[in-house]
């Protein structure tokens, strides 16, 4: 392989750094730094270094190798341009959390997300797929913890704490659960969208009501680590929910506060509550470089490197030009 000049090494280094920065968007797309001026400036510097070298090389400033490497540099420029476009024009990372059984329009993706109905078993297993329905395109399924590229975005399914709550009156009769502050009014699934400082920790929190008994109930989710830190021997090391049962005027009822483990019924403030704890997915939508641009740019870059270094190697050239002069003599 022919030795590269200092300029060549610098340009290749800038191209590699720019490409690495762009591909980082595919590896960890949710990082907000991609939409900052510092990220775009870093890519712009790489683009100037690569573009400047390519222009000079076309004029023969870096010899035969430089001429051959302009294809690779063009590929690097395409990739870097895709990265800059994604950072500057792509939407900020957004988390879409919806109740089971609802539909969320996703304008940045050109699709609608269908969050399936989930019962206690589904919440406990956390095994829920979300389907994306797109205009003039096939339906996409995103498994729990999975991701799908849709145009210039990537949609990831991220498990979030959830609880399916069953409520009964003291006689054991089933009660309607409502969530007046939630767009899904009749959902018995709590998604804990708020965060509340409590017991030396910041806990996911939610609220619901049982109108038939005139109860308003707050729920605080304790993860395994939070329940251990809470130093309550009954729940240590296990997921639990702390319920606080108020009357219609917001007054905490006597005996209205207590922990419940998953699947365990507790009687609090005249209502029997049984949560099933687990996860339900939220969608995290992030802009990524347009994949066809990465494929084309990548192919040009790799192919261009091969063209530049392999076709330009002395061994290959000697084979093309016939035996060396010494051998003729």
């Amino acid at each position: 392989m022919r030795a590269a000049s200092g300029n060549t090494a610098l340009a290749l280094g800038a191209a590699a750094a720019g490409i690495a920065l762009v591909f980082a968007q595919d590896v960890a797309p949710a990082w907000t730094g991609y939409h900052t001026w510092q990220y775009s400036a870093a890519l712009a510097i790489a683009a100037v270094a690569v573009g400047g070298y390519a222009l000079g090389a076309r004029k023969g400033e870096d010899g035969e190798l430089g001429m051959r490497l302009t294809f690779a540099m063009t590929g690097a420029l395409v990739i870097i341009a895709a990265g800059i476009a994604s950072g500057l024009l792509g939407p900020d990372t957004e988390t879409v959390q919806r109740a089971p059984g609802t539909v969320a329009p996703l304008p940045d993706v050109g699709a609608a997300a269908f969050f399936p109905v989930a019962g206690p078993a589904t919440i406990a297993s956390g095994d829920t797929s979300i389907s994306l329905r797109r205009r003039n395109a096939g339906e996409l399924e995103i498994a729990a913890g999975g991701r799908q590229f849709v145009g210039a975005t990537v949609v990831e399914s991220v498990p979030k704490p959830a609880a399916y709550v069953e409520a009964r009156d003291p006689g054991g009769a089933h009660l309607t659960i409502t969530q007046p502050t939630n767009p899904s009014f009749l959902s018995p699934v709590l998604l804990f969208p708020q965060e509340v400082p409590l017991a030396n920790a910041v806990l996911p929190a939610d609220a619901f009501a049982t109108p038939a008994l005139h109860r308003q109930i707050k729920a605080f989710y304790f993860s395994k680590s939070a329940s251990t830190a809470a130093r309550n021997h009954g729940i240590a090391g296990r997921e639990a929910v702390l319920f606080a049962v108020d009357d219609d005027s917001g007054q905490l009822l006597p005996g209205g506060i207590g922990f419940a483990l998953s699947g365990q019924a507790v009687d609090l403030g005249g209502v029997r509550l049984r949560p099933t704890l687990g996860t339900y997915p939220a969608l995290v939508i992030s802009a990524v470089p347009y994949p066809p641009a990465l494929w084309l740019g990548g192919a040009l870059f790799v192919g261009g490197l091969g063209y530049g270094f392999l076709r330009g190697s002395p061994k290959r050239r000697s084979a093309e030009n016939g035996p060396p002069a010494a051998a003729i003599r």
């Binding site: 076309r58 302009t70 294809f71 063009t74 590929g75 420029l77 395409v78 341009a81 895709a82 476009a85 994604s86 024009l89 792509g90 919806r98 109740a99 089971p100 059984g101 609802t102 539909v103 969320a104 329009p105 996703l106 304008p107 940045d108 993706v109 050109g110 699709a111 609608a112 109905v117 019962g119 329905r133 797109r134 205009r135 145009g151 210039a152 975005t153 009769a173 089933h174 009660l175 309607t176 659960i177 409502t178 767009p183 899904s184 009014f185 009749l186 959902s187 018995p188 109108p211 038939a212 802009a287 470089p289 347009y290 066809p292 641009a293 084309l296 740019g297 040009l300």
Partner: protein
């Protein structure tokens, strides 16, 4: 010269890809029609979801079983005051139009069969009642309160989703065009 041509072609393709890349951030547009993010009214045109739940007599039934009829689905609960005041009009509508193929399907949300049965007996209801303890219909139909009503055509498609209490005249206005079209 051929090498120059190849170079220009590559540069042209690269520029086109960059332009297409930039365009991709402006071309997504909205989601498909019929999204249900904002209450039952957004469900118009969508297929009506169906779940098997218990009737007051304990057998299994679902909305799917009423395919071929115009169905007024009414989500209610016995503790809900507007549901209670709306119920006589639902019964009257059912009595008036059942011979024309209308089904009024009451779906109790979240309560026990005993509570639903007591309510049906008190209100002297003759239309079919389903008991949806897990509130599956309420979630799928984007209910933002009770009562919630949906008009479903004979093919199983939602024609209208309505939040809140309806009068008899409003119910008639919602179902009459579908009954006449049969």
């Amino acid at each position: 010269m051929p090498r120059n041509l190849v170079g220009y072609a590559v540069a042209l393709v690269a520029l086109a890809v960059v332009a297409w890349t930039v365009r991709s951030y402006f071309g997504a547009g909205g989601g498909p029609a019929g999204g249900a993010g904002g209450g039952p009214a957004m469900l118009a045109g969508a297929p009506a979801q169906s779940y098997a739940v218990k009737t007051l007599s304990g057998r299994s039934d679902s909305l799917q079983n009423y395919r071929g009829h115009v169905v007024l689905v009414n989500l209610w609960a016995s503790w809900c005051a507007p549901c209670r005041s709306e119920t006589p009009a639902l019964e009257e509508l059912y009595q008036r139009d059942r011979s024309k193929g209308l089904v009024v399907l009451g779906i109790d949300q979240g309560e026990s069969s005993a509570a639903a049965a007591a309510f049906a007996k008190e209100m002297n209801l003759s239309y079919p009642i389903l008991v949806d303890e897990d509130q599956q219909y309420g979630r799928a139909y984007a209910a933002v309160g009770l009562p919630t009503s949906l008009i479903v055509d004979p093919s199983g498609r939602i024609v209208r989703g309505i939040d809140g209490e309806l009068t008899l005249a409003e119910m008639q206005a919602a179902v009459d065009p579908l009954l006449h079209a049969q």
